[in-house]
Symmetry: C2
Subunit: 341 residues, 2 copies
Amino acid sequence: MSGTLPASSVDEFQIIADLFAPLSRGYPGALNLTDDVALLAADPDHETAATMDAMVAGVHFLPDDPPDLVARKLMRVNLSDLAAKGARPFAVMLAAAFPRGTDLDWMQRFAAGLAADVAEFGVSLIGGDTVSTPGPLTLALTALGKVAKGRAILRSGAQAGDVVWVSGSIGDGALGLRAARDGWPGLAAGHVSFLAGRYRLPSPRLSLGAGLVGLAHAGMDVSDGLVQDLGHICRASGLGARIEAAKVPLSAATAAALATDQTLLASVLAGGDDYELLFTAPAHATEAVLNLGRRVGVAVTAIGSMAEGEGVRVVDANGGTLSLPHGGWRHFSATETGAGA
Amino acid sequence: MSGTLPASSVDEFQIIADLFAPLSRGYPGALNLTDDVALLAADPDHETAATMDAMVAGVHFLPDDPPDLVARKLMRVNLSDLAAKGARPFAVMLAAAFPRGTDLDWMQRFAAGLAADVAEFGVSLIGGDTVSTPGPLTLALTALGKVAKGRAILRSGAQAGDVVWVSGSIGDGALGLRAARDGWPGLAAGHVSFLAGRYRLPSPRLSLGAGLVGLAHAGMDVSDGLVQDLGHICRASGLGARIEAAKVPLSAATAAALATDQTLLASVLAGGDDYELLFTAPAHATEAVLNLGRRVGVAVTAIGSMAEGEGVRVVDANGGTLSLPHGGWRHFSATETGAGA
């Protein structure tokens, strides 16, 4: 792990030794973050799944979000990608560009958040880089996971007739951004707090994802918005999909928000940052998927099906096609803080 | 590979498909950059060496540096870490935070630079993330290489009596920053251009590094400055080192600059950004090291030796100890653009 923070505020080598090196424990190949590389041992029965997502203050999280939650969100959006493939995470690498003048206290809280998730998810921090920037806090994380050879759940494996499933509840991320940024007059405080928490601290569905290996034909996580992300599966699989808006699982908080303003449905279906799993499985696997959800304690809900054709059709309770703003995050304004990894 | 660039300038999925996906060719596990992860096959005879370095415009490169050279420097500072360990690179992942409003032409030139080095070094771009930032261009690259199991050249392997070697010439990076930023009145134009080129486009010593496996006891690349980096080897190996300033190999350009101003010696010895290999090898390997250098076409120069003790002592031609500003980059001003990865 290398570092080039300016001497003015803190010493980068001390930061690495004090705050980050302890997070490498348990992984001898991390070389205690004192060398130029980490060494990963080969495991002949497994492939390594590698993913890398970046986050920028003011774009992917709020500049005044608590540092520990920023670190944990960075970790979790990456682990969510591994979860969607059925991979078990084992290591991460962090590149952090800290704004000049970032103080030690802030970094300690950031590292504490990382430490909490390193422990929670059983991964090791095996390397990376710390630099200073005249711009906003900018973070990139590379996450590595293991999946049995040839068994990763890809976007491209969906088959016509597959049931389309999602985990947890959808829409909390997009509404949670609004809740975290502006509060939400008119919505119960408990709901506002729940939604903001869902935006700030996603839950990677690792046990669910690992259990879906051999059950799911295709999968990904919902980061850019349910409709857009299902579109990715459609394109990669050469199929179309039809989902029923009324079946999309909502939290009590999102349901309450929708009850006050039906136009929020577009944000629910096309907003991002849910980090739930979106997957397809054959109809005969339905019982097995439901049992898996019960076993790992994560709700799984069938919301539609895959078919020949292309594109995603969202239908309302009467079978009419809902017209949604096309796609997801790409069409939000550039000043909005949300979605992404 | 995922992306969240704003729609205002360019479409991120199109950017990934048009500019970056072609760079994944030859690596089936990259899944054409259309999935959430890349899949790395296990190779039971090898370990994977993983490194990750970040660069920020205005900190690690000049904001108006040509985009293709920015991409190639990013690639090369990472490959240099692999070279120092004796690893052969095979894949990279890129996280790029592009300033809002970055135009397609800029990105195309950036991608062209990346493509050139992907071809030159035989690696594949297997994933990453593209996002937008209100701040400066901020880049992180993860590079993966292969090294025979247990054979990586670590910082910690130096032994008392080892000869200390460097490749190429030292000091060009630090002086090159000045040449690139300010020109250099009084220095021949050819020298100025050579130095700026060395700053902008380092040469990772991959063949040399691979050849050093089994010859070198310890190694790293010179990124933070020769003296500071040798200090890292000393600490990791529990030894001290003594180097002779007069033996440190200089390019003609750096020698010419030094002739005009002897105080530049501190920048030469303690500046950064050389990306040459610094390694130690037993005295009986001297002929083999020299032969290797000839075979791969890279100068290798013995500059001192390892001994019991601690710290790096730099001696002048009369055997007196030179006093240098302690360490490297950490003590440059925070507004200077240089060193780092």
